[in-house]
Symmetry: C2
Amino acid sequence: MEAVAPRRTRIQKEKRELILEAALDTFSTHGFRGATIDQIAEAAGMSKPNLLYYFHRKEDIFETLIQRLLITWLQPLRELDDVGDPLTELGAYIRRKLEMARDYPRESRLFANEILQGAPRIMPMLEGELKSLVDDKAAIIEGWMRAGRIAETDPYHLIFSIWATTQHYADFDVQVRAVLGPERGGNARFEDAAQFLERLFLGSLRPQCP
Amino acid sequence: MEAVAPRRTRIQKEKRELILEAALDTFSTHGFRGATIDQIAEAAGMSKPNLLYYFHRKEDIFETLIQRLLITWLQPLRELDDVGDPLTELGAYIRRKLEMARDYPRESRLFANEILQGAPRIMPMLEGELKSLVDDKAAIIEGWMRAGRIAETDPYHLIFSIWATTQHYADFDVQVRAVLGPERGGNARFEDAAQFLERLFLGSLRPQCP
DNA sequence: CTAACGTTTGTCCAAACGGTCAAAAATTGC
DNA sequence: GCAATTTTTGACCGTTTGGACAAACGTTAG
């Protein structure tokens, strides 16, 4: 049942990377239907038939992109584990997520686009792999709560809120920059956001406070 | 310079509403380019030329939709004012925003789609109207902080976080439902979210806590 | 050098797209 | 009830789209 890794020449590997890079640009800003093969081909510096020599269908490019993205996308959450101080763990998770929003905004927007359209291509993964990963991590967080190490809350909505706030700085970047204006919209906005979010989440989770 | 309101017959008013309703469905899930006039026309129960009798271009439909949306979209923030207890004010704002995500998810997704694509049609509004509105409200929040009525934080990132978390329940709805599963993904998720978010934000803003 | 293989290109296609138009049908005002 | 107006329709147009294909071009190993 496992697909065998196809043998590829040096040129094939290089050109496929070039195409995926160009496609990430195009898909992430225009969505699947909004992006055209011509557009991607031009961004990759090749002709349309040439591009179709490497990826036979438009969907193939998109699916390769999404599959690759999902592996790295959930890595920060996977790294959240039981050892160490809960607040330090969660703080590190928030920081990693925000770094991903800063360093991989196109991936974030691609994912957002797919979800906005009802996740037609990744629904099984959401209900399977993602759900069980979140279930696992929610159980860890609940363990911390029962042990009195952090305040009691809903761990699922806690995770949703961390996703929402961190990804917001990638997905809604133009809005953030427009509102902050030229003075505050520089690269410092990510450091400001990191400080704010750490305070917001960790402050509300400190056991003594609520 | 102000556009005069065009006179319209009863049928024109009704059919235009029908079209806008169908277009909201279509645009919010497929984006501007991804949606087709045929698709919208069929959803509105009329032929393509008939639809084009009421809106001469596809962009006209989209722009009417966006303009109408923006008026109601910023209403909750507009209602945030200086009278009353700060924590009550902010709690009410969060609740109103979450209600909008629950009651108008298509509008939220339409807006998200536009921002994801770089806000080509509403950039002036973001830099103008939206920025000055947020500047105003951030000043109010800063006033509360200086008076010691709430803890010190960045008011801009506070507003961003409220936007991000509440809109997440509209924009990423399929993901939220997939992760919560059939048991917890029912309509109760909005009440759970409301409780969680109120605790998260108000807890971290209580002056004594930090 | 050359045969085999990998890569690139120009040309072509059918479907889907946004949009037009004149004529038919329905509605409205008198 | 009829004329003027508004609404609906079917046929049509040029363009863009995803994709196919054979021929031309490069590359590489023997």
